[in-house]
């Protein structure tokens, strides 16, 4: 690439450091000396993508291979994109600055439905044909993974293949198959056929989808011999033995999660019924304290980071947390390393330990009761009581916190007016708890943020069959809450229901939505998750032009017999378990944490894990 053109452009854009590469611990290889060039693509800006743990793991894992050079590419912000198009600069990888169209693979991680137009835009900016059938021998294979890959149907036209499950093992198998194919020579189809034999690899166009007259899916069937009729996700059996990087790239700019990320475990046993991550990442697999201490030591030394976070879906559920935190504090406090524990349940922690931890830094506190009444929390199987919450909040106030954030959802199944009122009551109770603890001493410092999102039914959850509330209904509920939450010291913020509506459409969408995505992108949609770029009216136009009713996907209840567009994907947890959970939800019955007893979710059919 002409470096002087890039140089000229970088002088004219905001945050040029996003496109610069050259960070400490970036892997440098001679591209002419590798057989496979892989562009790890994150369809959002640098500071979001660089905060993603999966990318850190797979980047270093692939670069362990002598035959492979994995580089990074992010979605350029609109000013950069405009300059690149003006100057004819194709999308390039940060490491070598080479166009990614010359690579063997471009691998997208799909973390969020509303990044789909960015995927399309990045392919276009890279000058790679958008749809799989338009690509030829000299084009890279466009592949995907990540949570949205489990129902990738709306994006089926754009990907050559998709990986289901933990990437650590599959990726090496895939690269091995590719290596063999590249050395032997063959057609693109030859490679895809060979790749589809790897468990966990899904080639969407090897499956035909038929529809019924009412618009629902009739069947999804393989269209050639030797292709599995169901694709089962891959699971790393033993996290202690699984690859974990001992170094991480240290960005120059302030990224969203700018710290060492130590993944303490994968999976979750709580079984919240709205939560997709809680199902698709099953079973729970923990790293041992010695392994974590060893990794922490290396990562802190190799990065120079001043902060370390223990990451997982629910860090307080780590079986030896107190011991781990104690050891980490002892080892790293003298070096002034601070710790953050996202998704922490403060009640499960000894008070001394918290006091010890906040000596280094006091971060904001977030609680996620999710629903306003106990009845509704039981429906969603959020095993938290109001007493739990108020106890935790009280402790936090006693320890000197003045700001808390409460996460809640509206539009949950079975929700009533009472549940909405419960949200406001909860905010009021938190406030009076503060006044009680502080005796009104520092009342002006109190800030309670009530953050409300609209519920989005997701595939592979017990609520995958339910209808989402319409936008009108959600807006009415928000208006009600805005009114009820006019309370001093309480701030109310909410997620745009129109965005939640589109999330619901694409989360449970099928292949017919591909043409909507293309139309929306053609009319200028990108960075849809960023409020300043979200163009809802254009989306509506795209649906209209494509002759598709989005309400069919978002606002329609499915029955048990309906063939769901993702019915050929097996995430381990069975549809019959999910249905049972749905029925229990409607009855308000709880399913306790599955560490207490096995509820037969089906994950034990897959290899390994804590589940026996």
């Amino acid at each position: 690439m002409d470096k002087s053109v890039l140089d000229e452009i970088l002088r004219q854009v905001t945050k040029p450091v996003r496109y610069m590469g050259n960070e400490y611990n970036m892997v440098e290889k001679d591209p002419s000396k590798v057989l496979i060039r892989f562009a790890f693509a994150f369809p959002d800006v640098y500071e979001v993508g660089m905060s993603h743990l999966g990318m850190k793991i797979l980047y270093h894992l692939m670069n362990e291979r002598e035959d492979t050079y994995c580089e990074r590419v992010f979605a350029p912000w609109t000013d950069m994109e405009q300059k690149m198009r003006e100057k004819g600069l194709p999308l390039f990888a940060l490491e070598s600055k080479d166009p990614i169209a010359e690579f063997d693979f471009v691998g997208f991680t799909l973390q969020y439905e509303m990044c789909y137009t960015n995927v399309i835009n990045m392919l276009d900016l890279a000058r790679i044909p958008l749809r799989w059938w338009e690509r030829e021998k000299n084009h890279p294979f466009i592949i995907a993974g990540g949570p949205c890959a489990y129902n990738v149907e709306p994006m089926a036209d754009f990907f050559d293949l998709v990986v289901m499950g933990d990437g650590e093992e599959v990726i090496n198998e895939l690269l091995d198959v590719y290596r063999q194919w590249k050395m032997q020579g063959g057609t693109r189809q030859d490679f895809l056929v060979a790749a589809a034999r790897i468990p966990g690899v899904y080639v969407p166009h090897f499956y035909d989808v038929e529809y019924d007259d009412d618009g629902t899916v009739r069947s999804v069937k393989p269209n050639r011999e030797g292709i599995p009729s169901v694709i089962q996700k891959r699971v790393v059996r033993d996290l202690d033995r699984a690859y974990y990087p001992e170094t991480m790239i240290v960005p120059y700019m302030d990224i969203v999660h700018d710290r060492v990320m130590l993944e303490v475990f994968r999976g979750c046993t709580r079984g919240c019924r709205f939560c997709q991550a809680g199902i698709i990442y099953r079973p729970v697999r923990e790293r041992s304290v010695p392994r974590l201490m060893d990794l922490a030591e290396k990562l802190i030394n190799n990065t120079g980071y001043e902060e370390l976070s223990l990451s997982s879906l629910s860090t307080s559920d780590y079986s030896d947390l107190e011991n781990l935190v104690k050891q980490l504090m002892e080892r790293f406090a003298p070096q002034k390393v601070s710790f953050s524990l996202p998704s922490l349940r403060i009640d499960s922690f000894s008070r001394e330990l918290i006091e010890e931890m906040i000596k280094v830094r006091k971060a904001g506190l977030t609680f996620a009761p999710e629903a306003g009444t106990q009845r509704l929390r039981d429906v969603i199987n959020k095993g938290v009581t109001e007493e739990d919450l108020l106890n935790s909040v009280r402790q936090a106030f006693e320890l000197g916190w003045d700001t808390v954030k409460l996460y809640l959802m509206i539009g949950l199944p079975t929700e009533t007016q009472e549940d909405l009122e419960g949200i406001a009551d909860l905010a009021r109770k938190v406030k009076s708890c503060y006044l009680d603890v502080t005796g009104g001493q520092r009342a002006h410092r109190l800030r309670i943020t009530v953050s409300v999102a609209s519920f989005v039914p997701k595939p592979f959850t017990p609520f995958q069959w339910v209808a989402q509330d319409t936008i009108e209904r959600l807006n009415q509920k928000l208006d009600f809450l805005k009114d009820k939450l006019r309370i001093k010291s309480v701030e109310f913020d909410w997620h745009d229901p129109r965005l939640s509506f589109l999330e619901a459409v694409f989360a449970r969408g099928d292949r017919r939505l591909g043409k909507v995505l293309i139309k929306a992108w053609e009319m200028g949609c990108k960075f849809d998750g960023w409020a300043e770029h979200f163009k809802y009216h254009i989306w509506l136009k795209a649906f209209e032009d494509a002759g598709i009713d989005p309400g069919f996907y978002a606002n329609r209840a499915r029955d048990r017999e309906e063939v769901l567009p993702w019915s050929h994907i097996d995430v381990g947890v069975t549809p019959s378990f999910l249905w049972r959970e749905y029925q229990k939800a409607l009855r308000g019955e709880l399913t306790p944490d599955c560490r207490e007893r096995c509820w037969g979710c089906g994950i034990t059919r897959l290899e390994g894990g804590l589940c026996q």
Binding site: E8, L10, R11, Q12, P16, V17, M20, N22, E23, Y24, M26, V250, Y252, M253, D254, N301, N302, T303, G304, Y305, E306, Q335, K336, R361
Partner: protein, 231 residues
């Protein structure tokens, strides 16, 4: 022990902002295991201070930071340790121990020397430059926290010479004010000059600017911070 450290910011890192560069150097200090002293209090911070920041997009071979160490260390050892853990494009050139009681670099440094390579194909600018500098006042608009204000930059230009020419480029050297008292960004000066001379340039890609060094006035002479080395 207090150390003044001279470092270079080269082409491949010229788009890092000052804040990002500070963070990068803090982390390099940790990686190198340098015994940096920390401030006391609720949120201890490493005792590292910087000379006047370099504007984004420029390169330099004369940047300075000021590091307080909790224990003694040989300056050479410091340089070696740091250079083995820095990203490419940032290099420690030299470190010297200085008197701990000296004021901050920011308050001592008053001038900086720049090399400016102006893309001016086929232009003869000697005459224009002479007329530019002959003005008693050169007023530019500076935008700051309190909005826009007019500033006379002529007193901040201590020297501005053409030192060479090569294919389509004019090479100039400029000694300008820099530091906490007053400071002139060479890019703003060049913009003002081009406007004065009536030269139309691509508004943002007209010059490569490289900082050569920074100076402070001490004992009747202009010296670089390295010359503060304690005896």
């Amino acid at each position: 022990m207090r150390m003044v450290v001279k470092y270079a910011k080269q082409d491949r890192v010229k788009y890092i902002s000052h804040l990002d560069l500070m963070r990068t150097l803090h982390r390099a200090l940790r990686r190198a295991g340098i015994p940096v002293a920390f401030s006391q209090g609720y949120n201890p911070q490493p005792k590292v201070a910087f000379a006047p920041p370099l504007p984004v997009g420029m390169t330099s071979q004369g940047e300075y930071m000021d590091v307080m160490l909790a224990s003694e260390m040989r300056p050479q050892e410091f340089c070696q340790g740091m250079n083995s853990v820095l990203p490419q494009g940032i290099a420690i050139l030299k470190a010297v121990a200085i008197d701990e009681s000296l004021p901050s670099l920011m308050s001592m440094i008053e001038r900086a020397l720049y090399c400016i390579s102006l893309k001016a194909p086929g232009l003869c600018i000697e005459g224009a430059l002479k007329d530019f500098l002959a003005q008693p006042d050169i007023t530019i608009t500076k935008s700051g926290k309190k909005g826009e204000r007019l500033v006379n930059i002529r007193p901040m230009i201590h020297r501005l010479d053409i030192v060479g020419q090569e294919e389509g480029k004019v090479i100039m050297e400029a000694m300008l004010s820099a530091g906490s008292k007053e400071s002139l960004n060479p890019e703003q000066m060049i913009r003002s000059f081009l406007e004065f001379a009536g030269i139309e340039g691509d508004s943002c890609c007209f010059a490569d600017i490289h900082r050569l060094d920074m100076f402070l006035y001490r004992g009747n002479a202009w010296i670089t911070p390295l010359e503060l080395e304690r005896g």
